[in-house]
């Protein structure tokens, strides 16, 4: 399906008169090395979980703009330790922005539509749910939508029908929905309001702002109310039981959820900047939910030698899927110190903490931008209090690099 989309986009690009179109291509090589946390109760080795600790993603990213037409595609070749290399094409975006006059426009096609406020977490991203905490991430893949937009000098709104014609999907990105975004520029404030009606989550509504004070400070905040929210939990941990023969995780529907973010950023004329941000994510596990999962894993591990190793490894591997969540705990605090030398070199240090359990994630990174090349690299270390979710994660350390060449 994705390859078919990509091929259609490429055929469209070739059909356009070359002189009229804006066409760009970039080559990206993004290797990373993971270090296992051998002390983690959630670490499961081969054969249950293959060891893919080293991998590299090679992308040829193509972008085309012609009038209101936009197409973005990726040809990917991916190699991982112990796995057969694979290649495929991805259609990231393929849409048309049309104008109806009087500031009214429309979009149709597959498009990235981000509405959020915040850096580490964006509760208002109700259409494009982007993982803001990942590193070395590939280009976003848009969602099929039909949208009507209205723009005046200080106000704008968008009404989008996302995944038109589809019903409730297996996850949020596959859930058909009707979404609305309102924006107003009010003096020093950017004001946002959003609403979404979907099969999976019912009604969601939220608002946010960004305020700039003076020349160096900006403040932002946003909150989203969810009539229904869903959380994938282990039925063994929540309802009792010790082992399962099939994946025991199930989606639980909760009501009246809240996602919120608040932060402040200072940037000095020296090039230094400091960001402090805190957020709450009802979709993430609470401390008590982690403790129940930890208890289950400990009870399973304690039976080593009494039950087959494969049963223990399989059940722990299912539980370890909890680490795939964007936020491991509901409450998060982040500090980020960055520098821009105005010559293309941008190092940064970032600390994420989860105050409820004392977990910490420390990230050091840097990027350098040349004429056509951009190199970024970094190290992320997980740790904190011994019984925290981050300290018990199956991964202890992540080392990554990203080399990008803008070909034309």
């Amino acid at each position: 399906m994705r390859l078919r989309d990509f091929t259609a986009g490429a055929a469209f690009a070739l059909a356009l008169p070359a002189s009229a179109a804006e066409f760009n291509a970039s080559l990206i090589v993004a290797p990373q090395v993971l270090t296992d946390n051998r002390a983690s109760p959630y670490t499961v080795g081969p054969p249950t979980v293959p060891a893919h600790n080293r991998d590299s993603r090679q992308d040829l990213e193509l972008r085309l703009r012609e009038g209101g037409f936009n197409a973005q595609g990726t040809l990917r070749w991916q190699a991982a330790q112990g796995a057969k290399p694979e290649q495929h094409g991805i259609s990231n975006q393929f849409y048309y922005d049309g104008e109806l006059g009087g500031g009214v426009g429309y979009s149709v096609g597959k498009k990235v539509m981000s509405w959020g406020v915040g850096y580490g977490f964006r509760p208002l991203d109700i259409v494009q749910r982007e993982n803001r905490r990942g590193v070395n991430l590939p280009a976003l893949v848009g969602l099929p939508l039909l949208a009507v937009e209205n723009f005046s000098a200080e106000e704008a709104w968008t009404l989008a029908w996302v995944r038109p014609g589809e019903g409730g999907g297996t996850d949020d990105s596959h859930d058909s929905s009707l979404a609305f975004h309102w924006y107003r520029l009010a003096g020093a404030d950017d004001l946002h309001a959003v609403a979404r009606l979907s099969h999976r989550r019912g009604i969601e509504a939220g608002a946010g702002f960004t305020r700039v004070i003076g020349e160096e400070w900006s403040f932002h905040g946003a909150a989203l109310y969810q009539r229904d929210y869903r959380k994938t939990l282990s039925t063994l941990a929540e309802s009792g039981g010790l082992f399962a023969a099939a994946d025991p995780r199930a989606e639980f529907v909760r009501h009246n959820g809240v996602k919120a973010v608040a932060g402040a950023q200072w940037t000095g004329e020296s090039g230094w900047s400091l960001l402090a941000e805190g957020w709450y994510d009802a979709d993430a596990y609470s401390r008590a939910e982690w403790q129940r999962l930890d208890d289950l894993t400990a009870r399973q591990r304690a039976l080593a030698g009494l039950v087959p190793d494969s049963a223990i490894a399989g059940n722990v591997a299912w539980s370890s899927q909890a680490y795939l969540a964007t936020n491991l705990l509901r409450e998060n605090l982040m500090l980020r110190l960055a520098y821009d030398d105005r010559d293309g070199f941008k190092p940064y240090a970032e600390l994420l903490t989860t105050p409820k359990d004392g977990g910490r994630v420390f990230t050091l990174g840097a990027a350098y931008e040349g004429n056509r090349q951009r190199v970024s690299f970094g190290l992320r270390q997980l740790g904190g209090a011994a019984d925290s979710a981050y300290a018990r994660a199956p991964i202890r350390r992540l080392l990554w690099a990203d080399w990008r060449l803008a070909m034309f």
Binding site: E22, N24, R63, R65, E66, G67, G68, N70, D97, E99, G103, G105, S107, V112, M113, S114, W115, G116, E130, A139, L140, E149, F151, S152, A153, E154, E155, A156, T158, Y183, L185, A188, D190, T210, V212, G214, E215, E216, W217, S218, H220, T267, G268, E269, G271, S273, D340, D341, R342, D343, G344, E369, G370, N371, R372, Q373, R374, A406, M407, F408
Partner: protein, 282 residues
């Protein structure tokens, strides 16, 4: 009017530009001569001088400017960047990055408010004036092409025009000595790129010659030199050289490849509209 090309010789724009220049030249000459004996009117005179100097850089109120920025490091060309800048009255500017490594990035400036759009996230990000200064080529240097709306000041005196450094052929020292008006300007509004500017205008015609650019801490950040060129018989500033005091091994050459009268619709200057591709063809 909106589609006339100032530097490509379409007649309407040229007529308007010449008329405006000739009228303002007379007015400013009169105002300047009065200013030397009546200090009470100095502020008015400076405003008029700045408007006259602005006309050499931005010959219409609403324009589209194609800009090539060359970044030199230790006298060797290090990077090149291409920008398309839309300027509208009311201190509104929209900068579109066109170089392959920056394509899709946009910076919107509405008076003292700024937004950045990175193509990866498709989300306009509100930024502060300090963040606008970051990056290799400050978007403020590229998008702010006038002084009269942003600065007040005084005439410090009349001096020999400073001699340009011998790094650009366009900036060759003139055969005869010229006299310059030395202006000391302070920011009149928040959000301007530089808090203070020492500006040298050639006395005879008010063409900008040099500016010393100071940041909020009082430190001189850059030294700007302006190279005039005759376009359709009118002198225009088509090249600007920036020497960096903070990183003295760097220099930036900003070349205005074309300045075309264009009046983009107001809704294009809405931060939320940055995600759209509406400016194709403008």
């Amino acid at each position: 009017m909106s589609k006339n090309q100032i530097n490509h010789g379409e007649h309407g724009a040229k007529r308007i530009s010449r008329r405006r220049l000739s009228v303002s030249s007379v007015v400013n000459t009169l105002l300047l001569s009065v200013s030397l004996v009546q200090p009470a009117h100095a502020a008015d005179n400076v405003a008029a001088l700045l408007k006259q100097a602005d006309a050499f850089r931005l010959p219409a109120e609403s324009v589209r400017v194609e800009t090539l920025v060359e970044l030199y490091k230790n006298d060797a060309l290090d990077k090149e960047r291409l920008y398309t800048v839309y300027v509208k009255p009311g201190r509104r500017s929209l900068v579109l990055m066109k170089s392959p490594s920056e394509i899709g990035q946009k910076v919107l400036m509405l008076a003292d408010q700024f937004w950045l759009l990175m193509p990866e996230s498709q989300r306009p990000l509100r930024i502060t004036a300090s963040q606008k200064l970051l990056g290799e080529a400050s978007t403020g240097d590229i998008a702010n092409m006038t002084w009269s709306e942003d600065y007040d000041g005084k005439i410090v005196g009349e001096v020999d025009c400073p001699l340009p450094p011998a790094v650009l052929p366009e900036l060759a020292a003139p055969a005869r000595a010229r006299r310059c008006l030395h202006l000391d300007l302070a920011q009149a509004r928040v959000g301007v790129t530089y808090a203070r500017v020492e500006l040298y205008l050639e006395k005879a015609n008010k063409i900008p010659v040099k500016a010393d650019l100071y940041v909020g801490s009082g430190k001189r950040a850059k030294e700007a030199w302006y190279a005039p060129k005759s376009v359709e018989g009118q002198p225009r500033i088509m090249t600007m050289l920036l020497l960096d005091d903070i990183q003295p091994n760097r220099r930036t050459v900003i070349r205005y490849r074309s300045i075309v009268a264009k009046e983009a619709p107001d809704e294009f200057f809405n931060p939320a509209a940055l995600v759209r591709n509406s400016l194709s063809g403008w």
